[in-house]
């Protein structure tokens, strides 16, 4: 559910104006130069994009997931990759906001909400991706705290972020042995790998996070011991919707470019938009975008309502929307012909950026696994 149609529309308009002016003109360059635009993120913080659904007492905007998916669609029309980082940052901040003690919230959330600080989510490891419950990083008890050791893989924002929420093992094997910790950037023993060269998402760094005898206090643990996996998964429910909204924004932009291109471009003596085969393709794209938007808004309402069906619906939505929107972006590239393949037109960047949304925050196979498990168990 969104905050109220008038206000949500006004906020979406502000986000659109902001993103079109501050992101869109630079997105291609940021991609090319692998530039992480801190100034643009800080400016996003001034709007309230650093903590969209975070509580207002710690500097959050106090809005809903329903509002959030509308904003992420707008941001992603300008730059899906930067929009997606903003989504991860919001997820990290909200894990501390909802899972933290009053002291932890006061200590970390306000500067995340304002985007003065950036956050990273550290779950995946080199040998534990889809099977995250098998993670091997350890948090061993010390006097007054814990000592963290291990390696985290593919961490968005790593090296730049100030605040890392790290899932590490405090107990026995499996998900129940995992706890969550907040680790600050300058903590001794914390280091980062090289910025990975990758297909898309180039404006945000992806690095290994290496924990080598990182000492944190007891007050760095989020929730109880053994609660870490639950906290990590709860964060992902909303995170998956935002990633899907990022796919929707990128694909919507690419679709609109395609309609304009087909109107403009002539071949065989007529505008291409007069070719029925291409019109049918546009109709399918339009339909996929609409279905995606409806699913997203429905799933966000379930997360906002705390509905027990939220996890399954988030999973269905993440899979459907990121797949359908990748197809739309790829079709947009095809409809642009050779121009779609040139960086100058921006379409190939959207295809590259959206591709990873089918992989991260749980692969789309894992989404099917979540939905299928619920079906077999009689809960979906």
């Amino acid at each position: 559910m969104s905050t109220g149609s008038d206000e949500t529309a006004a906020m979406a308009a502000a986000v659109r104006e902001f993103a079109q002016e501050r992101f869109a003109p630079h997105a291609a360059q940021w991609d090319r130069e692998k530039h992480f635009p801190m100034d643009a993120l800080r400016a996003a913080g001034e709007l309230g994009l650093g903590g969209i659904w975070l509580a207002e007492d710690v500097g959050g905007s106090g809005l809903t997931r329903g509002d959030g998916v509308v904003f992420f669609e707008e941001l992603a029309r300008a730059d899906p990759a930067l929009a997606a980082y903003i989504s991860i940052h919001n997820m990290v901040a909200s894990m501390i906001d909802t899972g933290g003690t009053p002291e932890q919230r006061e200590r970390w959330v306000p500067r995340l909400a304002s985007f003065e600080h950036l956050g990273s989510y550290c779950l995946t490891e080199p040998d534990a991706g889809s099977d995250a419950g098998a993670l091997r990083s350890t948090a061993n008890r010390t006097e007054g705290g814990y000592r963290l050791d291990g390696v985290k893989q593919f961490i968005s924002g790593a090296g730049v972020s100030d605040v890392y929420v790290v899932m590490a093992r405090t107990g026995g094997p499996g998900a129940k042995g995992v706890s969550a910790f907040v680790v600050e950037k300058d903590t001794p023993g914390l280091s980062f790998g090289a910025n990975e060269a990758k297909m898309g998402w180039n404006c945000q760094p992806t690095r290994q996070v290496v924990l080598d005898g990182v000492e944190v206090g007891e007050d760095a643990r989020l929730g109880a011991e053994g609660d870490g996996f639950r906290i990590a998964m709860k964060g992902l429910d909303g995170g998956r919707l935002n990633i899907a909204a990022c796919s929707l924004g990128g694909a919507s932009w690419a679709y609109e470019q395609s309609v304009a291109h087909l109107r403009d471009r002539e071949a065989f003596g007529a505008p291409l938009i007069d070719a029925q085969a291409l019109r049918f393709r546009l109709a399918d794209m339009r339909t996929k975008l609409h279905a995606s938007r409806l699913m997203l808004h429905d799933a966000a309402a379930r997360v906002d309502a705390g509905d027990p069906s939220a996890t399954v619906h988030s999973a269905m939505t993440k899979r459907f929307v990121t797949d359908a929107c990748f197809e739309v972006a790829n079709d947009a590239l095809q409809l642009h012909g050779g121009y779609g393949y040139l960086s100058e037109y921006g379409i190939e960047k959207v295809v590259r950026d959206l591709r990873v949304h089918q992989i991260l925050e749980g692969t789309n196979e894992i989404m099917s696994h979540i939905v299928g498990r619920a079906i077999a168990g009689g809960t979906a």
């Binding site: 206000e7 006004a10 906020m11 502000a14 104006e17 001034e46 709007l47």
Partner: protein, 262 residues
């Protein structure tokens, strides 16, 4: 300190702008409109003054225009202004700058106790730039126009005006009317908090009668000028492409001379 910012709701320059076929006035009803971008600088400057003062300085947004013009007030309130005044009356349709300045002056007087009136440097639709001067004249206040920098010190306002041949520093005593350029600041985007807060901010609507202005003094019939004819801008010509066959430099130089650039 009481600041009034005059803002105008204008047709969106991104979409096609048209004229009413019956009376050659700007079409305002059927088109998308927005707060004139040049007025955002005036709103921003007022908000900066308020924030720097940190006291009970109030920023009141004043607009004259049809019902839709309320959106310009709303956007300004979302940016952070405190209150709005919207002068709306069917008789105002087609008003020229002389009538506009009369109505705005009456409204500023009605708001009362105003220390500083800020405006943009021009509207993005009419682009005449005369309302600020007319408004100052009607209010009997000093006018300092085209400020690209503004400082307040007690009861004086000092501005910097960047001209083609000179930069002037102009000082005036308050109350005064100041128009600001697009160089003076970087207008903020409305924040989510600002948008939520704007819902509760007061907006007053005045008719001509409320301001004591007679309908015969305003509107199309009272305008001192009349638009008799409108011509579409000719479509853009394709630029000249020079293929360099060894004499490219000479052709370029000739072109620049012909266009009187050199």
């Amino acid at each position: 300190m009481n600041i009034v910012v005059c803002v105008k709701h204008v047709p969106d320059a991104q979409s096609d702008r048209t004229f009413d076929a019956a009376d050659n006035t700007t079409e305002r009803e059927a088109v998308d409109g927005l707060l004139s971008e040049l007025d955002e600088y005036a709103v921003e400057e007022a908000l900066k003054i308020k924030e720097a003062a940190g006291d009970d300085t109030t920023v009141t947004i004043l607009t004259m225009g049809p019902a839709k013009a309320a959106d310009a007030v709303k956007k300004s309130l979302q940016m952070g202004a405190d209150a709005g005044v919207h002068v709306s009356d069917d008789a105002l349709a087609g008003s020229d700058s002389i009538a506009t300045s009369l109505v705005l002056a009456k409204a500023v007087e009605k708001i009362g106790g105003v220390d500083l009136v800020l405006t943009g440097m021009a509207s993005t639709d009419g682009t005449m730039s005369v309302v600020p001067a007319m408004l100052a004249e009607r209010l009997g206040l000093p006018q300092v126009t085209f400020a690209s920098e503004l400082t307040l010190d007690g009861s004086t306002v000092t501005i910097r005006r960047d001209g083609d041949v000179a930069t002037e520093v102009v000082r005036a005593s308050l109350p005064a009317v100041v128009s600001v350029t697009d160089q003076i600041n970087e207008p903020r985007y409305p924040s989510f908090k600002g948008i939520m807060a704007a819902k509760k901010k007061p907006v007053q609507t005045f008719s001509l009668a409320d301001l004591g202005v007679d309908a015969s003094e305003v509107g199309l019939d009272a305008a001192w000028t009349k638009v008799t004819q409108i011509t579409q801008r000719p479509p853009r010509q394709q630029g000249l492409v020079v293929t360099d066959d060894g004499n490219g430099g000479a052709v370029l130089a000739q072109f620049l001379t012909m266009q009187k650039f050199v």
